[in-house]
Symmetry: C2
Subunit: 501 residues, 2 copies
C-alpha cells in the first residue's frame, strides 16, 4: 500500500512542502541555466502531447520525481521559451527572481482578498502599490488614492478595458435614459490595437457594427489621427449614434506607435466620451523621464492601464488600472451579497476590490508588484528599460563596433534591409527590401520562417499599411547585447541563403 | 555604490534565483508551522498599512531580508489566514504542496499560451487535463475533447459565466435577427447564488430588470423550484421578453443547496435557453460516486463549471469550464489579429484558447491542475473530500466519543443549537436557538462576533428565508478533527458567556 494509504495523506505538510518545493526550485534553476539549448519556438506537431500522456487521471498518487521527468521529457519540448534570451516575438513577458518570489508568497499565503475584511493587507498593499506605480509614472494625483482617484490590479488589459467600458456604458445609458440605447453606443480605437478593445466592446454588448477601428497610416507613423477620429465621430453623430469610449494607445502591439494623447483628449472632452489610455507595453518605459512625454495629456483621461507583466520584470499576470472616478467602476460592477456583508464595508472606511473587477475571487497580486519594485528599486527598473532600448537601437542602427565581423552592420545600415516604422521603444519593425515590392510579403515571410525554424531565435510579424514586416521585440529578461548581435547574424545568414536559392 | 551599480543588474541570475527562492520557501514553511499562532481573522484597523509603509517606491534596491522582515511585521498581521486549520469562513481556498509546485513551474516557465503556437504544451496539456477532470466527474463525452465537446481553464466562475452568457446572447441575437433585442433577454438563477450571475449578466449588457433571482425556500431546502422558474419564464414570455440563460447551482454559496438539475434541464429545453451548471464548490465532491447523483441531468446542460481552487487542493486561481459546443464560445470571443496569425491556427488542426476566455494573455494553469491530480491521484483527492465531509458530519451530529468532555455534543445534539439548512457537503449552517424568534439574528450575530474576535476561528454568516445563521465551511487543507472539536468548544464557550451576560 505504502503512500497509497490515505491515513498518511497530508497535502500541506510543512516539511515535505519545503523539500519538494526546493526540488522544483532546482529544476527551474537548471531550466534557466540550459534555456539557450532549447529551440526557442517549439517544434512539436499538433497533438504531440496526447501521444505521450495517458488519457485519464491516475488512480493512485505519483512521485514528484516522475512528474518532473514528464515535465522535462513531454512539456519542455512543447514550450515556446518566452524566457529565452533569444525570444523576440510578440512582446516579452518579463520573469524575474523578484516577480517569482512575489508569486511564491502570493501562492503560499493563498488568501482571497475579495473585500477588505477577507484579508486587509491584500487590499491595503494593493492601494499602496498602485499609488507607488502611479507616482513612478508621474501620474497626476487625480489618479491616485493619495489624491482623488485610485487604482487596482487586474490580470490583463482586456479586463481593464471590459471594466472601464462597462462603467462608461452604464453611465451613458443612465444619461440617455434607457437600456435600449445600448445599440447606439460607439467605441473608437486605433486600427493598430483593435483586437483587445474590439473584443471587450463586443463582450459588454456593443453592437459589432458600432466599433470603429480608426485607420492609421505611414504619414502619422501609425498614430491615431485626430482628424480621422473626429470625422468618424461626426459621421456617427449624424447617423444618430452616441460616441461612448475612446481608447488611445501608447505603444501599439503591432508597431509600437503612440497615439497623440493630448490631441485625442481634447476631442473626447468635446463629445463627452470615456477616454482610456492603454499603455500596456510602453507604459513601463514612461517611468524614465525621457519617455514620460508620451503620456502627456493623460491628466485629461478617465483611466489608464499598463501591464507590468510585459516589460516591468513582473511574472504573469499583472495589469495596473488607474481611474479618476473609481465610483463609476464600482457603480457598474458592485453586487450585494449577504454572505459578504461585514461592518468594515458598511462603514465605508475601506474599499472592496471585488467591485473593481470582473470576478469575485482575487489573488494577492500586490505582493508580487511590491516585491518587484522594492527588490529592484526605481533605479534598476529604469536601467532595465534603458538597456533594452539601447539594445534595440544597436540592433536598429548603431554602427559596427568590430570591423572584422562584417555581418554586424545592423538593420538601418544594411542596404538589404529597411526600418518599416520608426522605433520608439525596444520594438524594431523591419523588413528585407524586396527587388519587386509585390514580393515583399513572401520574401519576409520566408525569411521569418527560416529564422524561427532554426530554433536559434523567435520573432513574429506585423502588417501596417499593407506592408508585411518582421518584429524584433527586444527585452526578454535574459537578453544581452550578444544575443541581439547573434540575432542579426542569424537574420543575415538566412537572408543570404534565401538570395542564393 | 555596491548593489546600486546597474552593471551588476541581473534580475534572473540562476544562482541568486535559487538561493533567494529557497529563502522564501523557508519563510513559507515557517509560516505554515506557526499558522495557528495568528488570530485567524486579522485584527488590524482600516488604514493600518499606510502607517507602516513609505508612500512612494524606493529609488534603490532593497534586500530580500528587509522585504521578508516587512512581510512578517507588516503584512502577516493584516492577513486573514485562509490556510489556517481554524478558517471556516466563506468557502475554503485549498492550498497544497502539489498546487504550489504547479504554480512555481507555471510562474518559472512564464509562458503565455494565448494560441497554440505560442506554447503548444500549454494548450495541449490544458485540453488533456480538462478531459481528465471531466472523466473524474463522469461527465458525458459530449463535454469532452475525446467526445464532441471541450473544456478550458478560467480564473473564476464569474469569467465562466460571463463567457457562456456572451455566447448565449450572441446566439440568441442572431436568432432574433437584431442587436436591439438585447433588452428583451432574460437571465434566471437561484436567489441563493444570484450575485455572480447577476454581475455577469449586467456586465454583458443584460438589462438590470431582466435578471430573475428565483426565490427559494425551506420547503425545497433552498433548491431552485422548477415551478417558480416556469412561472417566471411564462410571465416574461407574456410580457414579450425572451428567456436567455438559466444557471443551476450544485452547492450554493450561502447554504450548499443543490438545484434539481434534471428538472431544470427539461424546462430550459422547452424554452431554448442556454443552461449552465455552476458547481463551483460542490463539483469537486462529485468525483466521489456517492455525490455524483447531484450532477444527474448535466448531460442535458450546455455548460458546466467548477473551481478546483476551492475544494480540490489547487492554489488560486483555477476554474474548469466544459461546453458541449465550444463553437458558440469561440464565435462570440474570437477576434482576428494579424500579429497572432500563424499557419497552425489557420490549418484548424489546433485550438487557440484566447478565443475561449476574456483576456488575450493567459498563464499555464494546466500545469498546476495536472500536478495536483497526479501527485494526489483520484484516491487521495476523494479521501480529501470524504474526510472533510466526515468532519462536517462530526461537527453536525456525531455523538460524543469522549464522555468526560461534556462540551462536545455538537450542533444537532445540543438543545441550544439547531441546524438551519440540512447539510449536503462539508458546509454546516446552524444557529443558536433564540428564546424569542425575533432575537435570533442579534443573538447569532453576537455569537459569531465573539467567536471571530477571539482569533481562534473564523466563520461567516448567511441568511435564508429571513433566518440569520452561522456557516461553518469545513475543509481548509490543514483542518483536522481536533480543530473541528475545538471550534465547537469555542462556540459553546462563547455561547455560555452570552447567556450569562
Amino acid at each position: 500500500m505504502g503512500s497509497f494509504f490515505p491515513s498518511s495523506f497530508a497535502p500541506l505538510d510543512p516539511q515535505s512542502f519545503s523539500d519538494e518545493s526546493k526540488a522544483v526550485i532546482d529544476f527551474i534553476e537548471e531550466y534557466y541555466r540550459n534555456i539557450e539549448k532549447y529551440p526557442v519556438q517549439s517544434r512539436v506537431q499538433p497533438g504531440y502531447l496526447s501521444e505521450k500522456l495517458p488519457d485519464s487521471a491516475p488512480y493512485g498518487p505519483e512521485s514528484l520525481e516522475d512528474i518532473l521527468k514528464d515535465v522535462s521529457e513531454s512539456i519542455l519540448p512543447g514550450l515556446t521559451h518566452w524566457q529565452s534570451p533569444n525570444f523576440f516575438a510578440y512582446f516579452q513577458a518579463n520573469a524575474s527572481t523578484a516577480g517569482f518570489l512575489g508569486e511564491m508568497l502570493c501562492s503560499g499565503l493563498n488568501v482571497v482578498g475579495f473585500n477588505w475584511i477577507s484579508s486587509p493587507a491584500a487590499t491595503e498593499l494593493e492601494s499602496i502599490v498602485v499609488d507607488w506605480m502611479g507616482k513612478m509614472l508621474k501620474l497626476p494625483s487625480s489618479f491616485l488614492f493619495s489624491g482623488t482617484g485610485g487604482g487596482v490590479l487586474h490580470g490583463s488589459t482586456c479586463e481593464a478595458v471590459v471594466c472601464t467600458l462597462a462603467a462608461a456604458r452604464d453611465k451613458a445609458l443612465e444619461r440617455l435614459g434607457g437600456d435600449e440605447n445600448i445599440t447606439k453606443l460607439v467605441v473608437y480605437a486605433s486600427g493598430q490595437t483593435h483586437f483587445t478593445v474590439q473584443k471587450a466592446a463586443k463582450l459588454i454588448g456593443i453592437t459589432k457594427s458600432n466599433f470603429r477601428a480608426i485607420t492609421t497610416s505611414f504619414s502619422t507613423k501609425f498614430a491615431q489621427s485626430p482628424e480621422n477620429l473626429r470625422a468618424a465621430i461626426e459621421e456617427d453623430i449624424k447617423a444618430g449614434l452616441v460616441p461612448l469610449y475612446l481608447c488611445g494607445t501608447v505603444g501599439t502591439t503591432s508597431c509600437g506607435a503612440v497615439d497623440p494623447i493630448n490631441e485625442l483628449a481634447n476631442i473626447y472632452r468635446e463629445y463627452k466620451m470615456w477616454f482610456h489610455v492603454d499603455a500596456a507595453y510602453a507604459g513601463s518605459a514612461c517611468t524614465c523621464p525621457e519617455f514620460r512625454p508620451y503620456l502627456d495629456g493623460v491628466e485629461l483621461a478617465d483611466s489608464i492601464s499598463l501591464n507590468p507583466h510585459k516589460w516591468f520584470l513582473t511574472n504573469m499576470d499583472c495589469c495596473c488600472l488607474w481611474l479618476k472616478q473609481p465610483k463609476f467602476l464600482v457603480d457598474s460592477l458592485s453586487t450585494d451579497s449577504e454572505i459578504l456583508r461585514n461592518s468594515a464595508s458598511e462603514s465605508h472606511s475601506v474599499l472592496d476590490y471585488k467591485d473593481w473587477q470582473i470576478a469575485l475571487s482575487r489573488q494577492f497580486k500586490a505582493l508580487k508588484l511590491w516585491i518587484v519594485i522594492r527588490k529592484h528599486g526605481l533605479t534598476n527598473l529604469m536601467y532595465h528599460i534603458r538597456s533594452d532600448v539601447s539594445m534595440a537601437k544597436r540592433f536598429e542602427h548603431i554602427k559596427d563596433t568590430n570591423p572584422t565581423q562584417s555581418l554586424i552592420a545592423m538593420v538601418a545600415k544594411d542596404h538589404d534591409f529597411e526600418i518599416v516604422v520608426p522605433r520608439k521603444f525596444a520594438l524594431v519593425c523591419f523588413r528585407m527590401k524586396p527587388e519587386i515590392e509585390s514580393k515583399g510579403t513572401e520574401l519576409n515571410r520566408e525569411l521569418l520562417n527560416a529564422v524561427n525554424s532554426s530554433g536559434r531565435a523567435f520573432m513574429t510579424h506585423g502588417v501596417v499599411g499593407g506592408t508585411f514586416y518582421i518584429r524584433a521585440a527586444i527585452g526578454a529578461t535574459l537578453t544581452e547585447e550578444h544575443h541581439v548581435d547573434d540575432l542579426w547574424k542569424l537574420i543575415k545568414e538566412k537572408a543570404q541563403n534565401l538570395f542564393l536559392n
